[in-house]
């Protein structure tokens, strides 16, 4: 079989596979609900700067402080009299961005490392896996403190901190996936054709272990949002007055005894977002791997 026909047939297969995945996904009610929620959230997050007056988000009015949810302020107001509803809505920008960028960071670092470890095995694998062990032993909060303090506290650095702490997950998942396909015939064939290792990894191996990685990605977006908000909760967040959800929770923590709504709504927002990602992730897994379909 020549390389041309192989790649052509693969392309063809790939296209139909995408269609098939969508076909399966469409039938999954949970995944479609999740997808719907996410689409709305993304639409809001991407366009909010055009239709929402920032004054509503950051404008303070101390005389209106700590009002319980009412018809004017749906989610109540915080200790500076800012409307919690708009702050939570505006916060979606940060949380979604953090989720995505953080996971991109861990994908970019984790997948190649995992692939190399799985493909070469032996000492290389040993080394990479030990380094992974070392990194996973470091509490993410320490990672957060260090990154945020070296590079300053900014949204991107928070993303970086969260991203780096979930690199070990991707290394392990990718390695495991690579192990399952590296001895397949098509890999042997490519090797016999004298292709370089790099070519084989990126053209043959990785495309065939995408599904666990994609599934892990959606699930990790969810947990990245949660861990970013935990870091934020422990005081390593985004610069004020940006209403990141974790930061809102931290601020509300002080008032939890009498004004628990200050914590309730940002927490619910995190929960719903993460839930949506998880539902889509579950759906994707089922759709991509019919064998696993439950």
């Amino acid at each position: 079989m020549s390389t041309e026909t192989m790649s052509v047939s693969r392309k063809y297969r790939k296209r139909s596979k995408l269609g098939e995945i969508w076909h399966h996904l469409k039938k999954n009610k949970g995944a479609m609900t999740g997808l719907g929620i996410l689409i709305v959230m993304f639409a809001v997050a991407l366009t909010i700067d055009f239709w929402l007056d920032m004054e509503k988000v950051i404008g303070q009015n101390i005389s209106q402080k700590l009002q319980a949810p009412n018809s004017l302020h749906w989610f109540g107001t915080d200790e500076m009299g800012r409307d919690m509803f708009w702050r939570v809505v505006y916060g979606s920008r940060y949380s979604l961005a953090i989720g995505f960028v953080a996971v991109m960071v861990s994908l970019a670092v984790g997948v190649p490392l995992g692939a190399v470890a799985g493909y070469y095995g032996g000492k290389v694998e040993g080394l990479i896996m030990r380094i992974t062990d070392i990194f996973s032993a470091i509490p993410s909060i320490l990672m957060g403190v260090v990154i945020v303090s070296i590079l300053g506290s900014s949204t991107f650095n928070l993303m970086l901190a969260v991203g780096i702490s979930s690199v070990p997950n991707f290394v392990r998942i990718t390695r495991a996936a690579v192990l399952t396909v590296k001895n397949e015939e098509y890999v042997e064939a490519a090797r016999a054709l004298g292709k370089t290792d790099l070519y084989i990894i990126f053209r043959h191996i990785l495309p065939n272990c995408l599904s666990p990685i994609i599934v892990q990605t959606t699930l990790r977006v969810a947990s990245a949002i949660v861990s970013a908000s935990s870091l934020s909760f422990l005081g390593l967040g985004i610069k004020p007055p940006s209403p990141e959800w974790g930061a809102l929770l931290t601020a509300g923590k002080t008032y939890i005894r009498g004004y628990s709504y200050l914590c309730l709504f940002p927490g619910l927002a995190i929960m719903i977002t993460v839930l949506a990602f998880n539902m889509v992730g579950d759906g994707l897994r089922d759709a991509m791997d019919p064998k696993l379909k439950r």
């Binding site: 030990r130 470091i138 997950n169 949660v226 914590c263």
Partner: protein
């Protein structure tokens, strides 16, 4: 088997060296040292003296070298802040962390495995759907937020349970254990269900059924045993996570565990304490992993044979990542 355990323990050595080096370098990169914390009102000379005493006038590698020299003699160092042996500090906090870890895992096992089995056997039924929705919810809730909401409900509003610390015995354990346990319960229910489903469809069970073995027995005798491997893996991983100290949850509940100790030490730049505790956590996780592997061998004779021949072993992979820290 012995060979394998020894190999596992030997592997701790490079990991420990790497972890401690990383902690040292990272804390060195963070702004401020412990001298800034304790030397607030000191004169410049005294600060210089203290810096010298603690090695902060030399490079981080020098301090690391000194620490490792101590570690070789089994000395985890002395806390700069509390002036107590880190080993002692760690041991003071470990029981609370183990209690919490144990309680949350116990809670998860007791609730999730039966639920997962039921969901799998009644696949597509009401229990199945409900438990899956609940599990998904459980996975999606930020731990600390759940903790706070539980405090508001059960401590503030209803006044049933204490909200802080470990002073009230069993009662004070409930809320934090449930908070940490939620993620685990969710993961475990899902894992149990999916691995049971895998097994229930397997050919040998079909054979057993066709031979007229009653369904209950099929589930109990054959299916569960074979579905245990991924379940044990998840429990092991989660127990490993939990002995590291559930940092945020311990913070919310003022739980006197290892996680809070590490956080406080990081904030105070108490390098020895941070390093010592993380090394101990690494060791604990390794012990748990070894135990899990031994349990595998008991559950699955095939694996036992594999260990016996001491071949390179393929550990059953995690079914999916656990809940976030």
């Amino acid at each position: 088997m012995h060979k394998y355990i020894i190999k596992r323990i030997l592997m701790l050595i490079p990991v420990t060296i790497g972890v401690s080096l990383l902690v040292f370098v990272m804390l060195d990169l963070a702004p401020g040292t412990v001298v800034d914390i304790i030397g607030g009102e000191m004169t410049t000379e005294e600060i210089a003296e203290l810096n010298h005493e603690l090695g902060y006038d030399r490079s981080v590698f020098y301090r690391y070298f000194i620490y490792m020299k101590g570690l070789l003699h089994g000395d985890l160092g002395t806390s700069y802040i509390y002036k107590v042996d880190v080993w002692k500090l760690y041991m003071q906090r470990l029981p609370a962390t183990l209690q919490l870890a144990g309680a949350s895992v116990f809670l998860a096992i007791v609730l999730s495995i039966p639920l997962g089995i039921k969901a799998a056997t009644k696949h597509g039924g009401v229990t199945d759907n409900l438990s899956m929705v609940a599990a998904l919810l459980g996975l999606s809730m930020p731990n600390f937020w759940l903790g706070m909401m539980l405090i508001v409900l059960f401590s503030n509003q209803l006044g049933w349970l204490p909200s802080y610390g470990a002073t009230d015995g069993f009662k004070s354990l409930i809320l934090p254990a449930f908070t940490i346990g939620t993620g685990l319960m969710a993961t475990l229910t899902r894992t149990t269900r999916s691995s049971m489903l895998d097994v229930l469809r397997a050919d040998y069970l079909r054979t057993a059924r066709s031979k007229g073995v009653p369904e209950k027995k099929v589930v109990k005798k054959h299916a569960l045993k074979n579905a245990l491997i991924p379940i044990i893996t998840i429990i092991g991983t989660q127990l490993g996570n939990a002995v590291g100290g559930a940092v945020v949850t311990e913070n919310v509940f003022a739980w006197p565990g290892v996680g809070r100790l590490i956080i406080d030490a990081i904030n105070q730049r108490d390098t020895n304490t941070v390093t010592g505790c993380i090394i101990m956590t690494t060791v604990m996780i390794c012990i748990i992993q070894v135990v899990v592997d031994v349990v595998y061998a008991f559950v699955d004779p095939r694996l036992r044979a594999q260990y016996a021949s001491a071949k390179t072993r393929k550990k059953p992979e995690k079914v999916q990542g656990g809940a976030a820290a």
